[in-house]
Symmetry: C2
Subunit: 248 residues, 2 copies
Amino acid sequence: MRLRTATTSDGISEQDFSLDDVPGVLWSPAGATGPRPLILLGHGGGQHKRGPGLVNRARRLVARCGFAAASIDMPGSGDRPRPPGEDRFWDEVRTRRAQGEAVADQVAEHFGELAARAVPDWKAVLDALTGLEAAGAGGPVGYWGVSLGTMIGVPLAAAEPRIEASVFGLAGPGYRGALAGAAAQLRIPVEFLLQWDDELIPRDDALALFAAFGSPDKTLHANPGRHHDVPEFELDNSERFLTRHLGS
Amino acid sequence: MRLRTATTSDGISEQDFSLDDVPGVLWSPAGATGPRPLILLGHGGGQHKRGPGLVNRARRLVARCGFAAASIDMPGSGDRPRPPGEDRFWDEVRTRRAQGEAVADQVAEHFGELAARAVPDWKAVLDALTGLEAAGAGGPVGYWGVSLGTMIGVPLAAAEPRIEASVFGLAGPGYRGALAGAAAQLRIPVEFLLQWDDELIPRDDALALFAAFGSPDKTLHANPGRHHDVPEFELDNSERFLTRHLGS
């Protein structure tokens, strides 16, 4: 893994890294040593490793909880090459939608394939980060990701026993129920965010994914508003949830 | 209003009161003066003003938030006379249920009548408490009550503009949708608790009541488990919710 020089502002160290063709960012309390929780941050669709919402969450986790945090670009996002056919795929989706055709299945299948490619990326990055002081020095690992971050995060958590607690949300059961199937395998504590007036995820779909989690300790937080309107106070809740399960 | 002598333990003052035929309890930080939030605590069915769960909540609100808290016996509960016909009503419900008949409507109607009698009780008590040092000295007022406490609390909050924020839950739309109708009138912040495996309130009924609230700021917390299994960490959440909206 290639680590670039860290920069520090407001007591928060920020450091780019790359592992093969996967670029990422690492945040941690400046000068921190010893084990602390590491939160993997999964970005949403159309976003990247340093989207504004994600950076805000990362810096809060460091400043308020003393955690480390890491994000990577999903395949085709941020600094990663856009796969051939990606633009054609979305053009076709737009055309079919304009003709009034249902595209939900097609999009869900596409994101399912993306998740299948992203899970080994995250696992390799986690291997490379483990033990680094700036990545929590072997402390417990959590995950925070909604929407696309959940479509990738749920199969990741099912495949990765190092993840001990996770915040998910804004997603349904997935293509042919694949996401619900992965969710059913989980036993870790889960906090699930649902937007009551989500224009992208039908309410019953989100409730069905929450219902599918096999975790005995799971909690659903639903708030009014559309897909991108998750209220700021849910960040407080996420931080308390992760602190409760991973320690401070 | 008749106030009995306060007793104090662990820095918490506890004081019985009665207003006409309504007996109640008041909790506050010992020796506190000046305005502080007052939380009205509505007890559940088969409970009373000093049920163990309620006393725990009251003492936590005082010790952890510095709030005052008050509870009263609902009509027919605790130290209040059981109305004539009450035992006969429940015997009939049991008989009909044993014969496999649906009793949900009958029970909901009964609780609706109870709520209609309890609302004026709470309003009169709130009038009498207002300005008392041991009742928050005119500070903002909130409400916490689930199950029967919600069946009474929702119409109370709709009728009582002094209530500025409320925790509700474990209830459906009520007899002929009466509770949903009152909920639609509310504009105050609401936190709503739902038990995913509630054996008394069908999940869709609880979701329908949450949907009915007219409050722009409302949030749903759902957790696995049966009616009486609301997890302890939701008390933390309630305290943060009430602190956020009523001040510390």
